[in-house]
C-alpha cells in the first residue's frame, strides 16, 4: 500500500485544513453535465432522474392508498382511472426506478473506485445508457400526460393487444429504451470487471458489491433482450395484426407470459442483488468483523443469477400452463431459497460477536435482512403449487413482492446512499435525522404491507377498485402505514439536499472502512485516485481495534 494511503487514513480522524483540490464536481456548466463521460457524474445524472420517477411512482401509490381507504370507489373518477394509476405505479417503479436504482447510481459511481480503475471500460456507452433511459423516460412521461395506459406493468395479452385502447405501443417503446439502457450498463460493468482491476485486485479480493453487480450485469445482458422483443411483439401484433399472442390469429396468449417472465423474474434479482451487495459492504463495516463466508456469498450471487432464469413458470401456475411444467417450475423455485439463505445466514454470522454500531446505514441494513427474509419465505409459500391456487392474484402476492422490492431493494438503496453519501458529495448528513428516517421507513413499511398479507390470505384480489366492506380496517391500517413510510422517504430527500449547502468537509474515510473507494478523497478527484492503488490483502480486514478514531460524522457533522 502506498504511503499516500496511510497519510490519508491518519488524517481522517481530526479536522484537516482543506486547501482547494481538484474534484470531479468542479465544473458546473450544463455542457459539463450533459456531455460528461465521467462515471461519477453519470451516476449523479441517474440519481436525479430515478428520484423523479420514484416521486411519480410514489404519487400514484399515494393516490391508490387513499382510494382504498373506503370500500367504495370514491376518489378516482372510474375503475379505468384506477387501472391507469396502478399501471403507472408499476411501470415507473419497476422499469424507471428499481431496475436502474442501485446499479446505475451507486454501481456506476463505485464500481471503478472499488476495483481501483479510472473509469468504466466504455465511458461514452455509459453516457449513452443514460440517454437511452431519458428517451424511455420522456416517452413514459408523455404517456402520463396523454392519457396513460391500463394494462398493468405486466402488459398481459390478449388484453394489451386486443382490448386495451390506451397507449400500449408507446409504453412498449418506453420499456424498450429503458431496457437498452440497462443492457449498456450491464455489459460495461462486465468488461470493466474483467479488464480494469487494479494490480493485486484478484477475483477473490473483489468487494462483494462487485460480485453482486457482476451477477446483476449477467442478468441484464442475458434477460433484457427477451423483454425488449416481447414488448415489441405486442406492438407488432397491435399495429400489424400479425398472429403471435392472439388465438384468433393463430397465436397463444400464454407465450407472452413465458417471454415476459423469462426476463421479469430474473429482473427481481436485477433489483435485489445489487442491494445484497450493498448489505455485504455495510454489515462487516459496522460490525467491525471480516465478512463471514466470503466465497459463499460471492458464489451465491452467481447462483441467484443463474437459478433466477429457470423459475419463471411460477407466475403461470393458474394461467393455463401445463401442470407438469408447473411441477418443475415449483421445484426449481424452491431451490432459489438456498443461495438466498446462504447470504442471510452469512450476514447474521458476520454480526455475531461483532462490535456493532447502529449508525443509519447499519439500521437500514438490519432492516433489509429481516424484511428480505419475510419476502423470501413468503415467496416459497407462493411457489407451492396448491397454495398458489388460493393466493394467486391476491394482496398476498402484492405484500410478498413489496417485502422483497421495498423491504429489500429500497432499504438497501437508502442504506447505501447514506453509507456512500460522504464519498459521493463530500458532505455528512445529520445522523439523528438519518436514524429517524430508517426507523420511520421500517415501521411505516411494515404497517403498510403486513396487513396486505392478511388481506390476500382472506381473499382480497389485487388490482380492484372497490372491495368488500369487511376488508376496510386492514386497508385503513395499510394507508396509515403508507403515510409513515412517505415521511420516512421524505426525510432523506430533504436532509441530503440540505447537506449540500455547505462546502465539502467529510473526511476521506468517515466509517473507517476498508474498501479502495475510501482511500481516495471525498469527493474523489476526476481521475479517482491521485496514486495507483495496489491491493495486497483480502477485503473486509476489519478488527475491533480499528474502531479507535471511528468518529463517524464526529466533528464534521452538521450540528
Amino acid at each position: 500500500m502506498s504511503t499516500t494511503v496511510l497519510d490519508q487514513t491518519a488524517a481522517a480522524g481530526h479536522k484537516p485544513p482543506k486547501p482547494h483540490r481538484e474534484t470531479y464536481l468542479d465544473a458546473w456548466t450544463v455542457k459539463s453535465w450533459l456531455l460528461t463521460t465521467d462515471h461519477k457524474r453519470i451516476g449523479i445524472l441517474y440519481l436525479i432522474s430515478i428520484t423523479v420517477f420514484f416521486l411519480i411512482g410514489g404519487v400514484a401509490a399515494t393516490t391508490m392508498r387513499l382510494e382504498l381507504m373506503t370500500p367504495k370507489g370514491d376518489l378516482l373518477s372510474s375503475p379505468d382511472a384506477y387501472n391507469r394509476m396502478f399501471t403507472l405505479h408499476g411501470v415507473a417503479m419497476i422499469f424507471f426506478f428499481l431496475v436502474p436504482s442501485i446499479p446505475a447510481t451507486l454501481g456506476n459511481f463505485l464500481l471503478p473506485l472499488m476495483i481501483g480503475a479510472r473509469d468504466l471500460a466504455f465511458p461514452i456507452i455509459n453516457l449513452m445508457s443514460w440517454y437511452m433511459y431519458m428517451i424511455g423516460g420522456s416517452i413514459a412521461i408523455a404517456i402520463i400526460l396523454f392519457g396513460g395506459i391500463d394494462t398493468g406493468w405486466t402488459f398481459y395479452t390478449p388484453f394489451s393487444t386486443m382490448f386495451s385502447n390506451t397507449l400500449v405501443v408507446p409504453a412498449a417503446f418506453a420499456v424498450f429504451f429503458a431496457g437498452f439502457s440497462s443492457i449498456f450498463t450491464g455489459f460495461n460493468f462486465i468488461v470493466t470487471v474483467h479488464t480494469m482491476r487494479a494490480p493485486g485486485m484478484t477475483w477473490f479480493r473483489l468487494p462483494l458489491f462487485i460480485w453482486a453487480h457482476y451477477a446483476t450485469s449477467l442478468i441484464m445482458i442475458l434477460g433484457t433482450p427477451v423483454l425488449a422483443i416481447a414488448v415489441m411483439l405486442i406492438a407488432v401484433e397491435r399495429l400489424l395484426r400479425v398472429g403471435i399472442f392472439d388465438p384468433a390469429l393463430g397465436g397463444d396468449p400464454i407465450l407472452f407470459q413465458h417471454l415476459f417472465w423469462f426476463y421479469s423474474h430474473p429482473a427481481v434479482y436485477i433489483m435485489v442483488l445489487p442491494g445484497m451487495g450493498v448489505i455485504s459492504e455495510i454489515v462487516p463495516c459496522f460490525s467491525r468483523r471480516p465478512i463471514f463466508g466470503y466465497r459463499f456469498i460471492a458464489y451465491s450471487s452467481i447462483a441467484l443469477a443463474i437459478l433466477g432464469f429457470i423459475v419463471w413458470g411460477h407466475h403461470l401456475f393458474v394461467s393455463g400452463q401445463s401442470m407438469y411444467a408447473g411441477l418443475v417450475f415449483s421445484f426449481l423455485s424452491f431451490l432459489v431459497a438456498v443461495p438466498s439463505a446462504i447470504k442471510v445466514f452469512n450476514w447474521t454470522a458476520t454480526m455475531h460477536k461483532g462490535a456493532i454500531r447502529f449508525d443509519t446505514p447499519m439500521l437500514y441494513a438490519i432492516g433489509f435482512i429481516g424484511l428480505f427474509t419475510v419476502g423470501g419465505l413468503t415467496g416459497i409459500m407462493l411457489s407451492t403449487l396448491a397454495v398458489d391456487v388460493h393466493l394467486h392474484d391476491t394482496y398476498f402476492v402484492v405484500a410478498h413482492f413489496h417485502y422483497v422490492m421495498v423491504g429489500g431493494a429500497v432499504l438497501a438503496y437508502l442504506g447505501g446512499l447514506h453509507f456512500w453519501w460522504p464519498k459521493i458529495t463530500g458532505r455528512m448528513y445529520p445522523e439523528m435525522f438519518g436514524k429517524l428516517s430508517a426507523l420511520a421507513v421500517f415501521i411505516g413499511f411494515n404497517f403498510t404491507f403486513f396487513p396486505q398479507f392478511i388481506l390476500g390470505y382472506l381473499g382480497m384480489p389485487r388490482r380492484y377498485f372497490e372491495y368488500a366492506p369487511e376488508f376496510q380496517v386492514l386497508n385503513v391500517m395499510s394507508t396509515a402505514g403508507a403515510s409513515v413510510l412517505a415521511f420516512g422517504y421524505g426525510l432523506p430527500l430533504i436532509y441530503f439536499l440540505w447537506s449540500l449547502r455547505k462546502p465539502p468537509s467529510a473526511p476521506a474515510n468517515p466509517w473507517q472502512a476498508t474498501g479502495l473507494e475510501w482511500q481516495t478523497e471525498s469527493p474523489p478527484p476526476t481521475h479517482n485516485f491521485e496514486f495507483t492503488p495496489k491491493v495486497e490483502k483480502a477485503p473486509y480486514s476489519y478488527s475491533p481495534v480499528a474502531v479507535e478514531g471511528f468518529d463517524g460524522y464526529g466533528d464534521h457533522g452538521s450540528h
Partner: protein, 99 residues
C-alpha cells in the same frame, strides 16, 4: 490484443453463402416436408446467424472471454426455448373430464 482483419474476399464469400442460404430458405418453405418444414427453416436461420456472428461481427478474431459470453447468450436462448417447450409439449398429457 490480436486484431483479426477480415479481407474483402472472406466477406464476399460469406455474403455469397448467405445469399445461397436465403434461396434455400425460400426453397425449403415451398417443399412439402410436413412437420419438418419448421425445423429445417430454423436450421437454415441458425446457420445464417452463426456466419454473421463469426465473420461480420468478427467473433473469429476475438479472445476466449468474448466467445464465452456469446456462447452463453446462445445457450440462454436454447434454455428459454426448451423450457417454454416443456409447457407446450406436456399441455395435453392431463386428460380433462368432459373435454
Amino acid at each position: 490484443m490480436h486484431h483479426h482483419v477480415a479481407t474483402i474476399k472472406t466477406n464476399l464469400i460469406i455474403f455469397g453463402l448467405l445469399m445461397l442460404l436465403l434461396v434455400a430458405t425460400v426453397g425449403a418453405a415451398e417443399l412439402p416436408l410436413g412437420p419438418l418444414n419448421f425445423p429445417v427453416a430454423m436450421l437454415i436461420a441458425a446457420t445464417k446467424t452463426v456466419l454473421i456472428i463469426f465473420y461480420f461481427m468478427h467473433l473469429t478474431g476475438t479472445d476466449k472471454l468474448t466467445k464465452t459470453i456469446v456462447g452463453t447468450m446462445f445457450l440462454w436462448l436454447v434454455l428459454m426455448i426448451l423450457m417454454i417447450m416443456m409447457d407446450y409439449l406436456s399441455r395435453d398429457w392431463l386428460q380433462i373430464l368432459g373435454k
